[in-house]
């Protein structure tokens, strides 16, 4: 797997430096998505629907068409666009809150209908843009802005890819990646977009850093992802 350190061509260099916090996983993820778009030569056909969450900061990250939606609404907007423009590559990006809380209904139904779109879900275990509140993927015992003593009330988090797999068509592509394994993430994103082109739903959850809200240094951030990987197993769930 070729991991080029340079910025991909589809990135809008004029909008850099990006607005993401230092150490945020979105820097890595956005760059890898850009590399996949370059390699597949799909830039002119690609449209991003962005959530209201940290990923809205990517509104001018690429030289690609983008639309910011409302919180949790990347999926239905992507579904509508793809139905109207069948030769497009439609990609929705959302966080764990946008996808597994406020937008869960739409996410599951798109998987269920096998809508040929690609959803990228960035899981950092918290609502990051609003200051680190408890989310559907917060780990057992994890202290957040809205669970200051740690989360103990309902131990089982929401496993998004596994949940989507329950309702999705057998031909859907569903996987979980991590910012600690970039070649695997890139391979999964590529397969997801290719699966969309074949007419099926695809979804990649990516475990990602949020040092600002985790209040971690670089070492602490990596340790947190390693801890997340123990609960959220990376790999292809439906291939």
């Amino acid at each position: 797997m070729n991991i080029d350190p340079r910025y991909p061509n589809c990135i809008n260099i004029k909008s850099k430096p990006s607005n993401f916090c230092p150490g945020c996983g979105y820097g890595i993820i956005s760059k890898v998505i850009g590399q996949v778009i370059d390699e597949l030569e799909i830039a002119p056909r690609t449209v991003f629907t962005l959530d209201i969450g940290c990923n809205l900061l990517a509104w001018d990250y690429y030289k690609l068409d983008t639309i910011q939606t409302h919180h949790g609404r990347v999926t239905p907007l992507a579904v509508g666009y793809k139905r109207a423009k069948k030769d497009s590559v439609t990609i929705g990006i959302a966080g764990d809150g946008g996808l597994y809380a406020i937008g869960l209904q739409s996410f599951l139904h798109a998987a269920h209908r096998d809508d040929p779109i690609t959803i990228i879900g960035v899981n950092n275990t918290i609502y990051a843009m609003t200051g680190g509140q408890l989310g559907p993927t917060t780990l057992l015992g994890q202290a957040t802005d809205s669970s200051p003593e740690g989360k103990f009330t309902y131990p089982k988090p929401i496993f998004g890819p596994e949940l989507a797999h329950e309702v999705a068509d057998d031909k859907a592509y569903i996987a979980r990646a991590s910012v600690l394994n970039i070649p695997q993430m890139k391979q999964m994103l590529r397969q997801a977009i290719e699966r969309q082109a074949q007419g099926h739903f695809s979804f990649v959850e990516i475990l990602s850093f949020c040092p600002t809200n985790w209040k971690t240094d670089a070492k602490g951030s990596i340790e947190m992802i390693e801890k997340m990987e123990k609960t959220y197993k990376t790999g292809v769930i439906s291939g």
């Binding site: 629907t49 910011q68 409302h70 907007l77 509508g80 139905r83 139904h109």
Partner: protein, 345 residues
């Protein structure tokens, strides 16, 4: 043009008019009294592969999917009612800030909450200013099935010509009734255009980092709205000249009031009617002109005063006439009731 009379329900009429206006994409969620519009479209889409149809998981998704269709240049639209209308105001405000030709038919039903399922005039505030809106949308109110046919076509044209979200605000009496409709009048279609074009990068935002940035965006929207309003605003004044009593009514009640005025005039009562056709923008000048010389103003509506507040605010500086109210929230109003009320005055 010779008349072409067809026996149709209002729900059939909305589907027919939307197709004549060039609609080719529909996303919706079933809700009484508007469900038959969705199922009517589904039947058309089953016959014609050029028509897209998506039954979504809820009204928020219906509205968001409609916006997705608009981005690709489809004449996308949706239909809802009541509590669904509440949910769909969320995508509606996204269309408002992005100046998108979002077309929606709303069949009002009783409220608050689930209320009753066929009729009311209680969704006027919501249609005009729902969501965290500044009211930068057009709201048409057809008063009978014939107008419904023409206004539904016109709504698509207004939306695309001015790039502005447009609502057709009806009710279940209007759309569940079977009536003869003249379908000969077909308006020329307004062109649609995709927002996203291959290769020409567009980044559509609804979230701004600075107050000044949003302020300047809004100033542009307000100024566009003000100039478009002059072309869009519509009302009907009926027998208003020399009238001592002016009735203010809209939608289906507006039609009942017109029937009442015709009867009362025959009996010698000096009564007239002002009926807005666009509930937003509102024809302030038309309303002010209609009440010149009036001694009394009768406001009739099937809500607790949503329309009355617009009327009184509009006429504050323009009349000394006394206000009389016939408010029946969530209940239908007959011409006879209006005639009786005028005779009491």
């Amino acid at each position: 043009m010779p008349k072409k009379l067809e026996l149709l329900t209002g729900n059939d009429v909305v589907v027919k008019a939307a197709l004549l206006a060039g609609a080719d994409f529909f996303a919706g969620y079933p809700i009484t009294p508007s469900t038959e519009i969705m199922s009517g479209w589904a039947k058309e889409a089953a016959k014609n592969p050029k028509l897209e149809f998506l039954q979504t998981e809820d009204e928020t998704s219906a509205g968001m999917a409609t916006i997705g269709g608009l981005l690709a240049g489809k004449k996308a639209w949706t239909v809802t009612a009541g509590v669904g209308h509440v949910l769909i105001q969320d995508p509606m405000v996204l269309a408002e800030t992005l100046s998108m030709p979002f077309v929606m038919y709303v069949g009002q039903r009783g409220g608050p909450s689930t209320g009753t399922v066929i009729y009311s005039q209680q969704e006027l505030n919501l249609a005009r200013y729902g969501g965290n809106s500044e009211g930068l949308r057009v709201v048409y109110a057809p008063s009978n099935i014939q107008e419904l046919f023409e206004i539904t076509q016109k709504a698509f044209n207004t939306a695309w010509r001015y790039r502005i979200p447009t609502i057709i605000l009806g009710d279940g009496y209007l759309t569940k009734t079977l009536s003869p409709v003249d379908t000969s009048k077909v308006l020329p279609q307004e062109k649609s255009e995709a927002y996203f074009l291959n290769g020409e990068v567009k980044n559509l935002r609804n979230c701004f980092s600075r107050e000044e940035e949003l302020g300047s965006h809004l100033n542009k929207l307000f100024s566009r709205y003000a100039s478009a309003s002059k072309q869009i605003v519509e009302s009907e004044s009926y027998q208003a000249d020399g009238a001592e009593v002016i009735i203010f009514a809209w939608g289906t009640v507006g039609f009942a009031a017109k029937v009442a005025v015709a009867t009362l005039r025959k009996e010698g009562y000096k009564v007239g009617l002002f009926r807005p056709i666009t509930m937003r923008p509102f024809d302030d000048q038309g309303a002010i002109k209609a009440v010149k010389g009036a001694k009394k103003i009768l406001i009739v509506e099937s809500s607790g005063g949503q329309f009355g507040r617009i009327v009184r605010e509009t006429l504050t500086q323009s009349t000394d006439a006394d206000y009389v109210r016939l408010y029946k929230p969530a209940e239908g109003i007959t011409p006879e009731e209006i005639e009786e009320k005028v005779k009491e005055m």
